[in-house]
Symmetry: C2
Subunit: 391 residues, 2 copies
């Protein structure tokens, strides 16, 4: 038979990154394209021990159906650890990764054609979640300290039916930019002025290895307009698929109903593991360990960029997150550079993948330093250096 | 601030069953309202052993990101075990429970206002998934051997934009009805005649403890119009959230993109556990064991219905599944019976919860025999018998 699909998904494509990642399995390919935590960052022994304990003591609890809102002890542990994110009327829902917060938020809040304002560039997984409900996306150019607030206000003024502003204030994916306190306050003030919500996505906040933490927008949320997305993917395990949303009670209630029809609940064993680990004695030491892993890897990659690619290629030095965002010289065609890099067995992500409109001009590429080994970083940067020198 | 929600979810309510289940935690409440597997049906020791092996041998694989389509060895094991379900052009996607197949199918195929034809009554989780995309639902009355095919053809004739027929041919939830081979052939023929798809949901097929298996509609699918939903929730563990969809390649491709923006992938550890267990030496013995558990529990409950409730209450004797569907005498108000049962600390589900239109007349209740202990079944049936005698 001939298949026809819903309008909302007709033009939806698999993520460009996932397509590029297919190259990763080509023998000899060095991938700077993924966003996977480093293998040495996983608390594998701790999780194995917790797992054995759970199966020994409470196997049925770990295997039986559970409630949609999430495992209560985990919800309470999140509320305790991140109490500064909770307003009086806020609640928390456990999700199957932070990605599900984006989907549940969009499904709950947006009719087709409604507008979502996002940073440009931004995380492709969120863009595709928004697109999958036929929303209209408006991208706001990023400055070194976050969104251009004038452009943001123009977008709020000129678009009817804006439902929310999507932002990743810490170590933004892909740009690595940290939004300044001043701009966080400014974004919140504009959301208030135009009465729209904010979806604040913070997958990398707990990876900061340098500098002072900047208060999250959610922590300033005096009138309950911020939905916050958190995750254990970067600090415990992405394969577990445990994330969470914090939002005003009526929004959490609607997200809960949407989650109930999607996957009923997040794997309960997975939630129990995360709960035990994050409330255990070793969690803070583990966080310190992964920060050190990422600091070292990031530092190795940036020092090699300085040797092999700078000053023709410029970049923002990260103090958290998993990515380095590099700007190529204007005369180089970015897409052809990426293709040629893959030909030489180094996979990078073309920056255009992160734009609202992929055909907009873009001279950036995203490099990931967490997945490759140190040897692969050294070898891959050499290849990129040689490639650059040929332009 | 004031919150407004998307039209699609504005009228969506939490499942009635979940609301009733809240009573289950009231001390002394006997719940016949759930759909949980019996605790003694869980292969807890086997899973604990497999888990230890996975963490000992391949911890990083179990913790790292994986692919959206699902863990390949599990996909292949499903293809092997259920080869009779696969046409030449069919593929399999691993989902976070079978519930996600319903959601991904609806999201991929249905524009708002499109029509889904379903059995009446049918599974409330699916109804709510369909409703959450603002589809129009048309219910087809059930006869003892499946949908009324004349009513089905009328519905196909009289509704524009029917996208698919949803059915649960084995031990239907809630009615317990098994659709006959003749009707399965008839449903497929009608789907072909009116060129619509079929969503065949089979959560209970592997629990059959008596009688001959009847070929699934998917196994007759010569022109690739059936989407099949399977799950390990009833035979391994619901808390793991591992299900699967089998469908023509273009449909699986679209569902994969939708899943990518929803939860990226199903927990990889969970998939590895299910794969190891379902391909292990003990799986068939385990299936035989749970069939015996359910046969005994079902038989205990039906024998007590015969003593305490029959012949005023009639029911269909199950040979699989988890539920018994009971019809009350006409002069009894079904909802008041359910409320009074809860007052006496026995929770049952009012049959109207499973209707397309909950306010349609209904004199049925659903009893679950898998969750309560034998003692609870005995005690609870006595309470229901006393209650009935007062009417």
């Amino acid at each position: 038979m001939n298949y026809s699909f819903a309008n909302r998904v007709n033009t939806l494509q698999p993520s460009v990154i996932r397509e590029i990642l297919k190259y990763s399995s080509v023998p000899g390919m060095i991938s700077f394209a993924a966003g996977n935590p480093a293998p040495e960052a996983f608390p594998a022994d701790e999780i194995a021990a917790i797992s054995a304990k759970i199966y020994a003591e409470r196997p049925i609890d770990a295997l039986q159906y559970s409630v949609t809102e999430g495992y209560n002890p985990l919800r309470e542990a999140i509320r305790e650890r991140y109490s500064f994110l909770f307003g009086e009327n806020d609640q928390v829902i456990i999700t199957s990764g932070a990605q599900q917060v984006m989907e549940l938020t969009t499904k709950s809040l947006c009719n087709e054609g409604d507008v979502i304002i996002c940073e440009a560039p931004t995380f492709i997984g969120s863009l595709n979640a928004f697109r999958s409900y036929n929303t209209k996306l408006v991208g706001i150019p990023m400055e070194n300290d976050g969104m251009d607030l004038n452009a943001l206000e123009d977008a709020l003024k000129n678009n009817a039916n804006v439902r929310f502003i999507y932002c990743i204030p810490n170590f933004q994916n892909p740009s690595g930019i940290v939004t300044s306190l001043e701009k966080r306050i400014g974004i919140y003030a504009l959301a208030k002025k135009y009465d729209v919500m904010i979806l604040e996505d913070n997958p990398y906040g707990d990876t900061r290895w340098e500098g002072e933490e900047i208060p999250s927008i959610k922590s300033m949320d005096t009138d309950c307009r911020v939905i916050y997305a958190g995750t254990f993917s970067k600090v415990v395990s992405p394969g577990m698929r445990v994330g969470y949303g914090i939002a005003p009670a009526p929004v959490i209630a609607k997200m809960t109903v949407c989650k109930q029809v999607s996957d009923v609940h997040t794997g309960i064993y997975n939630q129990m593991i995360v709960h035990q680990f994050m409330t255990g004695d070793t969690y803070d030491a583990h966080l310190a360990h992964i920060k050190e892993v990422y600091r070292k890897k990031s530092s190795l990659m940036t020092s090699l960029i300085d040797i092999e690619l700078a000053p023709r290629i410029s970049y923002i030095k990260p103090s958290g997150g998993l990515f380095i965002w590099c700007t190529l010289p204007e005369q180089i065609d970015m897409l052809s550079f990426c293709k040629e890099a893959v030909n030489r067995k180094v996979a990078v992500v073309p920056g255009s993948a992160f734009l609202v409109n992929e055909s907009d001009p873009c001279s950036c590429i995203r490099l990931n330093f967490s997945t490759p080994t140190d040897e692969q970083i050294e070898q891959g940067m050499k290849v990129l250096g040689e490639l650059l020198s040929e332009y």
